[in-house]
Symmetry: C2
Subunit: 220 residues, 2 copies
DNA sequence: CCAGAAACATGCAAGCATGTATGTATGTAT
DNA sequence: ATACATACATACATGCTTGCATGTTTCTGG
């Protein structure tokens, strides 16, 4: 195994950052394709073009790497969802399209990674403690996004949270099913159903809200 | 390790059935407490009060055992849900209580087992092929239960399936969250929200059906 | 330009899981 | 009661993973 010709990382700091990043990416790839238990530190190092020695130098072991990886991909997804929510608020993305995009997230790489990490965490105290903490932060971010997102629909902050969290739970549950059920029609139907529900809820709340205040909107 | 004093299984057939059953139970227990990867055939045999030799005699290996175990616990859950659905139809269980009971299933042993098996199946062709097949059967049974359950609510068969499958997906997604989020209040809220939605949907459909004709078959 | 530190590689020992071969006990048919 | 099949136990060899100890290369500060 040769030193892997880096582009040209001059400073040590850059080298470190680049190497750590490569190891984390390798971890995510392998977690996805071979699962937590199926991934060894040898695999990770090899995929990153390094050896186990290098890995040991940067991370205490597999679990520390997995935590870092979890963190990274939660950050990425938070950012994606925030972007989508912004587009919806700006009017350039429909609610339906928003759901579709989030569904893509929950039926793809991201969700399968969380599935691996969550099941691993069930039997690994080190992982569980750390992933719990990061999950909490993740959900706080999401709730903030929801509140911003649906501000002014006539729904209360708590209702918004519940509704959007229910949406995520639904998509999560569907995501789990995709592993053992390859049936796009089935999933399409569920999405259509849920979109209709959401529309009803939001419209209902909007009507109710505008009926109260002297806003422009005659009631039925 | 002594021969483990069996009660008094005379015939070979009885001995075999008892031993296989013990091994399957041990597998389920360990899958739950230590996960798929964390469970070895040594563990399973020991917990069943046997040795690896006995295990090898009855099952080709861990995976065959896991498939059998999957089958067994799907059967148990199908039976539970069927019972609950029957109680609802008979009027001795409210829709709300029905949801609560199914939620207990999806936040407990059953679902965690599924989670283990599903994630293991993602990287194990032997498992995936077999679990896919059994999952299909499981869902056919569920759909049959749903149709029977909600017969005469004014909803079409497809709508019933979609609605109940959405319910299961929601609970599944919530189940996944329970691993890293210990927050009963949060889950209660989601349940309450969903129960309200279901009630709305069913009442809406019932009204629409009885408003049209005594014949229940509304078209789009 | 030359220590010293950080980054990275290599090698070895120990633990554990599995496959398989072979030995022993328990039932069952004649 | 004897012979055979089935149920179960024991033992060994192999491969894989990890921790650790020890080299070698690459950067950085004086």
């Amino acid at each position: 195994m040769q030193p892997a010709p880096d582009k040209a990382p001059r400073t040590q700091e850059e080298r470190t950052a680049a190497t750590r990043s490569r190891l984390i990416e390798a971890t995510l790839d392998l977690l996805l394709s071979k699962g937590y238990a199926g991934t060894s530190t040898v695999d990770i190092a090899a995929r990153a073009g390094l050896t186990r020695g290098a890995l040991a130098h940067h991370f205490a072991g597999k679990d520390e790497l997995v935590v870092e990886a979890f963190d990274k991909h939660l950050t990425m997804v938070t950012s994606d969802i925030r972007t989508y929510a912004g587009l919806v608020q700006g009017g350039s993305l429909s609610l339906s399209d928003f759901i579709d995009r989030v569904w893509i997230i929950f039926s793809g790489r991201f969700f399968m990674l969380t599935l691996e990490e969550v099941t691993a965490a069930r039997h690994n105290d080190y992982l569980r403690v750390r992933l719990e903490k990061r999950t909490r932060v993740f959900h706080e971010h999401l709730d903030a996004i929801w509140r911003h997102f649906f501000a002014g629909t006539g729904l209360g902050a708590l209702e918004i949270e519940v509704m959007l969290n229910a949406t995520l739970c639904l998509l999560r549950g569907m995501g789990v099913q995709t592993v053992l059920r390859d049936d796009p029609v089935y999933f399409r139907r569920l999405l259509r159903f849920w979109k209709a529900i959401l529309k009803e809820q939001i419209e209902g709340a909007t009507r109710a809200a505008s009926a109260k205040t002297p806003d422009p909107e005659p009631h039925a």
